[in-house]
Symmetry: none
Subunit: 226 residues, 2 copies
Amino acid sequence: MSRPLTARQQHVFDFIVKTMGEFGYPPTRAEIAKALGFRSPNAAEEHLRALERKGVIRIIRNTSRGIRLPNQEPQEALDTAASAVPANLETPLHTGLPVIGEVAAGSPILAAEHIDRYCPLPAEYFTPKADYLLRVRGLSMKDIGILEGDLLAVHRTERVRDGQIVVARLDDEVTVKRFKRQGHQVTLYAENSEFDPIEIDLRSQSLDIEGVGVGVIRGGNGQALG
Amino acid sequence: MSRPLTARQQHVFDFIVKTMGEFGYPPTRAEIAKALGFRSPNAAEEHLRALERKGVIRIIRNTSRGIRLPNQEPQEALDTAASAVPANLETPLHTGLPVIGEVAAGSPILAAEHIDRYCPLPAEYFTPKADYLLRVRGLSMKDIGILEGDLLAVHRTERVRDGQIVVARLDDEVTVKRFKRQGHQVTLYAENSEFDPIEIDLRSQSLDIEGVGVGVIRGGNGQALG
DNA sequence: GAACATACTGTATACTTAACCACTTATCGA
DNA sequence: TCGATAAGTGGTTAAGTATACAGTATGTTC
């Protein structure tokens, strides 16, 4: 596993736990900074990232107070919080498939900071096995039932065949399309008549294949259905 | 105390409790609005104020996610919420959700002989919780991304609201449609321009609601994706 | 029938917050 | 002495969020 927390990191963690118990919601960066005496919220931010790297918290990106303690049962988390020192920090807090939200330009898809949460489904549920779930943006694949907000199960591979649904990186943007190749000419088809196919000449443009779509999940975690 | 909550206020309160339990922090106005189907966050705001007036929550001003449930013991909050919701039918003891294939005419959906297999996903992954997965036949709902062979996660209930995707039994046939009711007249809409809506007069025809759709899974067990 | 509460839509604004960038200081092991 | 890590300061920006204001519609109460 990872290294134990430093003293300062432990202070930050304790404050999160205390805040959860006291107010029922996690603190903001600014609140952490104030409580710990930092003059900059950035100090809190970096501590949070360290805590996440070490697996003791989870950060929900772009969400105010988006800090989660590992315990599966949040109510248990509160109880634990009230009384105890975090004893088993080394406990793996995630099982299942990582859900990838926004992917920052230039960074690998599976970077820890892209992981929104985990879906408790074994990778082998899909064939070939899924390596992660990618949150779909836009409606370019709606004609084959892949809608905005859906989770696309993705099998990591660079070897794709014509007609497969692929996750590709084009100009640092991650996109889901149907793949077709003729020599050095690749066409990425949207499944939506309002979108035009994308033509790529591999001699002049770069195209990175991140994987193939192997499944779709919709409706988890309160997402609407319809 | 003050007057009891209205039905709508109860919905909002339940959603807050659910969010607290699921994520460990309270929802924002916008999240409430989205979950309850409001188009304006102000609707959520006014519900929150009503809930505060009636003493069931406390609002911390100018604070993101500043909603507190009064109960010191979080478990109590959950109990309250649970009891406010109609009793659930049966809790499956096996792990995973049963997958229902063909449903024989005249027999209950959840009869053992209909269960194809189990999908290793907790019922609570969906909201409200899924009771089973129904294998979809036909393309009548393709415009909202529900295709043939998909597994529709279904929450068992007879209480459905306009616009929801319902599993209904009509003339002993199980069908998935969008529900709309005006008095004793029910219309079941397909989401596919090639299908006509089905009109039912409850005075002369019987319509059994088996549940509402809460999610979709595609691609499990080798099923193709596109 | 006026007064009031509920239950919203729609728009706008200002505050809150997460997240980034550039930079500094100190410690520790190689 | 170099590089890596920890622990910050200070400031910026865009997104997230609470909240006010102006309406509409439908009931219930007196």
